[in-house]
């Protein structure tokens, strides 16, 4: 007696679970039952699970009956001729969608040769074991698995032509690679995912060579000229929003160049880029901290004494360019939001030319940062005058065993010379032998090596250098997003200590362990200086040991407890003053015993 569950709900029982499962499957294949049905007989718990609901991951498999796959050559011919499509294959019961539960009962062959009587299904292609990103990597079967994982992860970070309508979009943050190319060495998945329509990388000549030591520790050396020709060039877009909010009492924000008597008025220069309407016009260059939308708001609390007659009682709330960013106003969008308020969106565009420290990668998890931009005339060249675009350090290869990349060099080279794309889909059985003869025919060495000449001396290099075409990706980690330094800058209100983080122009923390190092060196004075960021000098009552109040007008200090002004000026960290205040707020009396300074 087996229980039957439909979408997890108990439906009934059956004496013959096998028959039910068979019947559902038959019905699904014949089209009597919707193809979203998936059925499984769980032998351990002796129940039947039928699932039809949403949210299941399903994948298509070719049906095998009596050791014979239903997908025949005639079908493939018809597909090639365009007479048959995907839906026909499913409707005719050749391919079916299987979910994770149903898969448990099946025996799936990876290739046609593997099929036996026992098999119930067959993979459409053995490469379907890979995910979307991993299947974009050519020759993955020649690499260590972890490298494929890294490579697949980095594909997600590449800059590319992410959308054809990017000029119309107002994404908060987006990157666009200039002159993106489809890879010369590709996979079938690239076409299937239509990545060839919005590629994310460029094919470049890579030499495997140690050069002046600037490509140490996975760094790359790039040809200055190739960068000038557009290699690795990208655009960074950021959209800023400004909303004309309405407040109680009929007041509202104003979008215009603020008047000079507005509270928090910036310098006149800060508003110089604005047009008459208070918004930057397109194609105007702006820098960090420039105003791009001039805006004023009413005061926060009306009638609390803040209000002064005769001047504008408004405060400055303009939208400014982020610190450290800049660029050109790409587009300005005027609209209205759901509350009916006026909405201004300004998109800035910034050109990003590869600079030292930008991150690049191949599809095999071989990532590195730019270490040197070398003049083309100083780079090694071949007898045909070809200079590499990228020089990759050979130390990157042996320990990581990315043989696939070596194959890509060979395949890329033949592809470039023949003017054809090369298929590198997983498990298609291609080897380096496939490229050897072609390379020879095309007038190159069959092992992909070339004789190079030193660009600086013109001497022939002693070793032949492995050189060819590799698809390079520019990753979204660029130095201009990360560079950060500060001497003086903003502090937090509560503690008077420097702010934290790059976005807030923060300081670099000297932490607990760093502090210990100063102590260990006996550098007491240096330590005091480093921690003086929040130092204040406060009057402390000699009698009560409590911080005295300072009269703003006379500048005289008065103890709030004994009403006397017998005080001593004591330097201390503001954080300590805060601790004293907090103790006082909890009815603890922290008394400072002060002496006159020597």
């Amino acid at each position: 007696m087996s229980d039957v569950f439909l979408n997890g709900k108990f439906l009934g029982t059956t004496e013959d679970p096998k028959e039910i499962v068979e019947e559902v499957r038959e019905g699904r294949r014949e089209g009597k039952i919707p193809k979203e049905f998936n059925v499984r007989h769980n032998k351990d718990e002796d129940n039947i699970q039928i699932n039809t609901d949403t949210g299941r991951v399903r994948r298509p498999l070719v049906i095998v009956e009596d050791g014979d796959p239903k997908l025949k050559d005639k079908h493939i011919e018809k597909i090639d001729e365009g007479e048959m499509g995907w839906n026909d294959l499913i409707n005719e019961g050749i391919i079916e969608w299987i979910d994770a539960a149903e898969e448990e009962d099946l025996l799936v062959a990876t290739t046609e040769e593997e099929v036996t009587e026992k098999h119930t299904h067959m993979e459409i292609h053995p490469a379907s074991i890979l995910g979307i990103n991993a299947s974009l990597i050519p020759f993955p079967e020649y690499n260590r698995g972890d490298r494929i994982s890294y490579g697949a992860k980095m594909i997600g970070q590449t800059l590319g032509f992410y959308s054809a309508n990017y000029p119309l979009r107002a994404d908060t943050k987006s990157n666009l690679l200039a002159y993106s190319q489809t890879p010369l060495v590709t996979t079938q998945a690239e076409e299937a995912t239509e990545l060839n329509k919005h590629p994310a990388g460029q094919n470049v000549v890579v030499a495997l060579l140690s050069y002046k030591g600037f490509n140490i520790e996975d760094a790359l050396i790039m040809n200055q000229k190739s960068v000038e020709r557009g290699f690795g060039r990208s655009y960074f877009f950021r959209t800023y929003d400004a909303e004309k909010k309405r407040y109680s009492g009929g007041q509202e924000d104003e979008i215009k160049i603020p008047e000079k008597d507005v509270r928090g008025y910036r310098s006149e220069e800060a508003y110089s880029q604005l047009a008459e309407d208070g918004i930057v016009p397109p194609e105007v260059e702006v820098e960090g901290n420039d105003v791009i939308v001039g805006k004023t708001s009413p005061l926060r609390f009306m009638g609390t004494g803040d209000f002064v007659t005769g001047i504008q009682n408004r405060r400055e709330t303009s939208i400014t360019v982020r610190h450290g960013e800049g660029g050109v106003a790409d587009k300005v969008l005027l609209s209205e939001n759901e509350d009916g308020n006026k909405l201004v969106k300004v998109t800035l565009r910034e050109q990003r030319i590869p600079e030292l420290g930008d991150k690049f990668a191949t599809r095999y998890g071989q990532k590195g940062v730019l270490g040197l931009l070398e003049k083309e005339e100083n780079l090694p060249f071949t007898k045909d005058g070809i200079t590499p675009d990228v020089i990759l350090n050979p130390h990157a290869i042996p320990s990581r065993q990315t043989v696939g990349q070596m194959l890509e060099v060979l395949a890329g080279k033949t592809g470039a010379l023949e003017g054809k794309k090369v298929d590198g889909t997983a498990f298609t059985g291609k080897t380096n032998e496939d490229f050897k003869d072609k390379l020879k025919e095309l007038g190159f060495r069959s092992d992909g090596k070339e004789v190079l000449y030193n660009g600086e001396t013109g001497e022939k290099m002693e070793a032949e250098i492995f050189q060819g075409i590799v698809y390079y990706e520019k990753l979204e980690h660029m130095v201009s997003n990360k560079i950060h330094a500060r001497s003086r800058g903003p502090v937090t209100l509560l503690t008077k200590q420097p702010t934290e983080g790059r976005a807030k122009e923060g300081g670099l923390r000297l932490g607990e362990m760093e502090k210990d190092c100063f102590i260990a060196h006996g550098a007491s004075m240096t330590l005091k200086e480093r921690f003086s960021s929040d130092e204040v000098t406060l009057p402390v009552c000699k009698k009560c040991g409590i911080i005295a109040d300072e009269d703003e007008k006379t500048g005289k200090a008065m103890c709030p407890m004994c009403k006397e002004s017998d005080v001593e000026e004591v330097p201390m960290s503001y954080a300590f003053k805060l601790l004293l205040d907090e103790l006082k707020s909890m009815v603890i009396y922290p008394k400072l015993e002060v002496e006159e300074a020597v």
């Binding site: 210990d516 260990a520 006996g522 004075m525 330590l527 005091k528 201390m572």
Partner: protein, 381 residues
């Protein structure tokens, strides 16, 4: 030349070890008076230089010197399979923490048993090991049966094992029949038969009795489950798993002047606080050294001294050294802030601002190194 007289004058300036070495060298080189005095002068200067200067934060230096390698140990504490010929002792970071935390019970207590000269050979060591290792009835039994018909227990004894233990069946029965018990053991052929005194015993009771008999102590010292004989440079010793230092010291052939326990608390109970200090020192340093790291023993000395200065054991941490700091602010900045602040305000404690942490908090110069003195004065010579 009376070197001895010259050296003895230095009693207040140089430690004994240095003085002895100085005298030895003088005698070896047969120095004249001028040379000898020059050597003494140089030695005094070198000794002065080798010492910490006033204001040097050697506590922080010791802490850093131990904890930096310890962070590496976290990543590398691996398990050495079958090391030390069978005795597996906690190693690496867990062991180091156990030592400086002054744990009451340690994970794998063990002893290093050294032997007296007469026993310092393979046979002697094996003999002593045999006497130390605890043997239970179950260790010599090859098979046991519960006779449900006659309500009795039969135990077959592995005669080889028995012989190895220098026991015979009669000894075993004798041991089994010692003290208060609910059964009577007797020899029956090659086996031992155990008859319960209570004739109406239930089968369950009988099973329980069997387990009890199997656990009966036959020979050796209680608590020592393993004793492994090892040789190092011609000298034999026994490593044990499980400790019972007091009893082991009394066993014939054991050298009580050298034998130690790996459990510092046990060392303290048997030999006193100085032995405890030395155990901390030795075990701590050994643990770090085993991991291939090099830490100067004087850093461990400071730790061991901090833990034992009072004559009582103090752990490193909240419940020991750090919890007994004089400064309220220093205690509050290290774990359980609120408790220390409340207690200090109830008692009305005063913080004299004598140490480092509290001065960092209020941003004053730390009384260390350059911040040690406010005014310095060098008197004319």
């Amino acid at each position: 030349m009376d070197y001895k007289k010259m050296v003895d004058k230095l009693e207040e300036e140089l430690p004994e070890k240095v003085r002895n070495r100085l005298k030895e060298r003088m005698e070896e080189e047969d120095l004249n008076k001028e040379e000898a005095q020059k050597l003494i002068k140089n030695t005094k200067e070198s000794y002065k230089k080798a010492r910490f200067e006033a204001g040097e934060a050697f506590g922080v230096v010791a802490a850093q010197s131990i904890s930096e390698p310890a962070t590496q140990m976290t990543m590398r504490t691996y398990h050495v399979a079958g090391s030390a010929q069978g005795v597996e002792i906690t190693q690496g970071l867990p062991r180091l923490i156990e030592v400086v935390d002054a744990r009451k019970t340690i994970k794998t207590p063990s002893m290093d048993v050294y032997l007296e000269d007469d026993f310092n050979n393979e046979d002697g060591a094996k003999e002593v090991a045999k006497n130390i290792k605890e043997t239970k009835m179950g260790d010599v039994a090859s098979e046991d049966r519960v006779d449900l018909l006659n309500l009795s227990i039969e135990i077959d004894v592995n005669s080889k094992k028995l012989e190895g233990m220098d026991l015979d069946l009669e000894d075993v029965v004798g041991k089994l029949n010692k003290g208060r018990r609910k059964y009577e053991a007797e020899i029956e052929g090659e086996a031992i038969k155990i008859e319960p005194k209570d004739e109406d015993i239930s089968v369950r009771e009988l099973q329980r009795m069997k387990n009890k008999v199997m656990g009966k102590h036959l020979k050796g010292i209680k608590g020592i489950s393993q004793a492994v004989v090892t040789e190092k440079k011609g000298s034999w010793m026994i490593q044990t798993l499980g400790t019972n230092l007091k009893k082991v010291l009394g066993v014939e052939g054991v050298d009580p002047t050298k034998t130690v326990s790996g459990d510092p608390r046990e060392m303290q109970k048997v030999f006193g606080i100085e032995a405890y200090r030395n155990t901390i020192l030795k075990e701590g340093h050994k643990t770090i050294k085993e991991q291939g790291l090099d830490v100067d023993i004087r850093h461990m000395m400071l730790v061991a001294d901090m833990m034992t200065t009072d004559g009582e054991i103090k752990a490193i941490g909240r419940y020991g050294v750090a919890g007994e700091k004089g400064s309220v602010l220093a205690r509050a900045s290290f774990e359980v802030t609120v408790r220390h602040l409340t207690e200090a305000s109830i008692k009305g404690e005063t913080d004299e601002l004598n140490s480092t942490v509290e001065n960092v908090i209020i941003n004053q110069t730390v009384p260390v190194g350059t911040g040690m003195y406010e005014v310095s004065y060098e008197p004319k010579k």
